[in-house]
């Protein structure tokens, strides 16, 4: 989690103050808590067609001093995407554009009046970086000239959003290694902004944390009244609510469910909800939902304890005792057998009175008719080999003389 130290500091200092300061810092532009309006920039009826790597999410990077956008990331059927395609930053944020594949540029399609971003008209290759500090609030739209037809378009929204009175998520140390259960590896410091949407989906058991042990997205921001659909995409996960705002009574899904199970809950009370998967807490399967409308931080300091050892409930105990019950006797038996084989330990007292059975060899018969070496004619085998050889010769003639030499012109040097 990399946020500007100053901002983080005052967020901690006090929720109300934070919201007020953030509102001031964010300036104006987009109404509070509202999704940016891109005017159809990402849809198929606009210039260049649909941006397939845009899923309706504006990645909220407000409050960060430096934000990185990949140019030529995977997407749109190749390395033809800006990642993230839509990003929201605070005014004064330096956005670093990093070329991760070849032959891309940045052509500015639209920007707020008063702004004079020029983009990068020259076509650049992997390794090139360019940064620009966005000061004027509003929506900036840009695209890649060579790959516009493939949908390589992006947008930067400056100001508004999370700072504007909706409250900012404050996750405390829930996603860090000092939180209960350890670090959430699929959390990259980004809170996915789904405000303004009435239905939002969270995958339970998505790829991440060293397997299918992740909630995707791990950090989510929604408006009050949003129904979140939890969809199980792999087996043996549940949702245990670690913390929620006062007055909220979300119970999660305590039972362990498998792939295909879905569960929906409508979040009404503003604040921070923290939850985790009981079986996979130790792997970092944790997530949070922030419901706008109130100041962040109501669940801020939660999730402090633990860290080194998981709670010893029946499930964790079964993980340890079950395999141990098999492994310990197996290893003990092997060590004993190995010692006995080496003669270090005598187990004769176990076998006392028993002798191994005698092995009887089969009787040898005389051949009925003896054939001398040159009297034997394996004509069956010989004719089979002759046929195989003929097939090989024909195949070679077809391959080399008919297919290759017969189909000119050739490479002559």
């Amino acid at each position: 989690m990399r946020r500007g130290p100053t901002r983080r500091g005052f967020l901690r200092a006090g929720a109300t103050t934070a919201a007020a300061l953030a509102a001031g810092a964010a300036g104006t532009g987009v109404a509070a808590g509202q999704s940016a309006d891109y005017g159809g920039w990402f849809t198929s009826d606009s210039k260049g067609g649909e941006v397939k790597n845009y899923d309706g999410t504006t990645v909220d990077k407000t409050g960060q001093d430096t934000v990185t956008v990949e140019v030529g990331a995977q997407g749109n059927g190749g390395t033809y995407a800006y990642a993230p395609p839509a990003v929201r930053v605070s005014p004064g944020t330096e956005v670093v554009f990093e070329w991760t594949s070849n032959t891309h540029n940045i052509v500015v399609e639209d920007q707020p009046s008063g702004a004079n971003w020029e983009g990068v008209s020259e076509i650049k290759n992997s390794g090139y970086t360019y940064s620009y500090t966005f000061e004027t609030a509003g929506v900036y739209k840009y695209y890649c000239d060579p790959h516009l037809g493939l949908g390589m378009k992006g947008a930067v929204v400056v100001g508004g959003g999370s700072g504007g009175g909706g409250g900012s998520p404050e996750w405390g140390d829930w996603f860090t290694s000092s939180g209960k259960g350890g670090e959430v590896k699929n959390y990259d410091g980004t809170t996915v902004d789904k405000t303004g949407q009435s239905d939002v989906t969270v995958e339970v058991g998505a790829d991440g944390n060293g397997g299918t042990y992740a909630y995707a997205p791990p950090a989510l921001k929604v408006d009050p009244g949003t129904t979140v659909h939890f969809e199980w995409t792999s087996n043996t996960h549940n949702i245990v609510v670690e913390d929620q705002p006062g007055g909220a009574n979300w119970e999660g899904v305590s039972e362990i469910k498998n792939s295909g199970y879905t569960y929906s809950y409508t979040f009404e009370t503003s604040g921070t909800y923290l939850y985790y998967c009981d079986p996979h807490l130790g792997l970092g399967m944790k997530a949070g939902i922030f419901v706008t409308g109130a100041s962040g931080g109501s669940g801020a300091a939660a999730g402090g304890g633990g860290g080194l050892l998981p709670d010893l409930n029946w499930w964790n105990a079964a993980w340890i005792v079950g395999p141990s019950a098999v492994a310990v006797p197996t290893i003990a038996a092997y060590v004993l057998w190995d010692s006995w084989r080496a003669g270090d330990v005598s187990l004769d007292w176990l076998l006392e009175g028993e002798t191994p059975p005698e092995t009887v060899e089969a009787p040898q018969y005389e051949p009925e008719r003896r054939i001398e070496h040159d009297d034997y004619d394996p004509w069956g085998t010989a004719s089979l080999i002759a046929v195989y050889t003929a097939i090989l010769v024909v195949a070679w003639i077809l391959l080399y003389f008919v297919e290759f030499l017969g189909r000119g012109p050739h490479i002559l040097g």
């Binding site: 790959h147 037809g149 493939l150 004619d377 030499l405 012109p409 490479i411 002559l412 040097g413």
Partner: protein
């Protein structure tokens, strides 16, 4: 050692077969002249072809009986080849010099034995001779990305004097019929 007579026959047949394989290849190389692409091509900076012979790709006469075509194979087109066909003379030694600025491509003249791999940073040199005026298709036969299936081009073989006169007049490009629309996935 007592070898069975059937085994003696078998050893003889397999020796004849091996010698026959080698002899047929020697025949192909010596009598027909069919070889493969060698390592004679130089290297170029794949990131920047602008200062090389591939900065302005196309064909030119190297001598009276030698026509050289520089072709850039890139995602997802041949330049020239896709937007306008490659025009080459018949009954003339034609050398294709191929390179790629991005990923590995293939250069297969469909229905012939002219088939080469195009490697970024490396110039593939393939010399051939077309014996009569006709039209060939060119396809990329190495998977090169999302638009690979659309990467194709055309070679138009014209009589030698026709191309020579057109080259002199600067109208070589007009010799070929229109190549049709650029395939999907090309540069917009």
């Amino acid at each position: 050692m007592d070898i069975h007579r059937y085994e003696k026959i078998w050893i003889g047949v397999s020796l004849v077969f091996i010698v026959g394989l080698m002899a047929s290849i020697v025949y192909g190389v010596v009598a027909v002249g069919a070889t493969t692409v060698g390592d004679s091509g130089e290297t170029v900076a794949a990131n920047d072809l602008s200062n090389t012979t591939f900065g302005d790709p196309g064909g030119h006469w190297a001598s009276d009986d030698h026509y050289v075509v520089n072709v850039v194979a890139q995602q997802f087109q041949f330049r020239p080849g896709t937007r306008e066909p490659v025009v080459v003379p018949a009954n003339t030694t034609v050398t294709f010099r191929l390179t790629s600025p991005d990923v590995v491509h293939g250069f297969e003249v469909v229905g012939t034995s002219v088939n080469a791999m195009v490697i970024p940073g490396q110039v593939t040199v393939a010399t051939t001779r077309f014996d009569r005026p006709t039209t060939y298709g060119v396809v990329c036969n190495e998977y090169c990305g999302a638009g690979h299936q659309n990467m194709e081009g055309q070679i138009v073989v014209v009589p030698r004097e026709t191309l020579r006169n057109a080259s002199a007049n600067g109208t070589a490009a007009s010799l070929a019929p229109p190549a049709g629309d650029a395939p999907d996935g090309g540069v917009a």
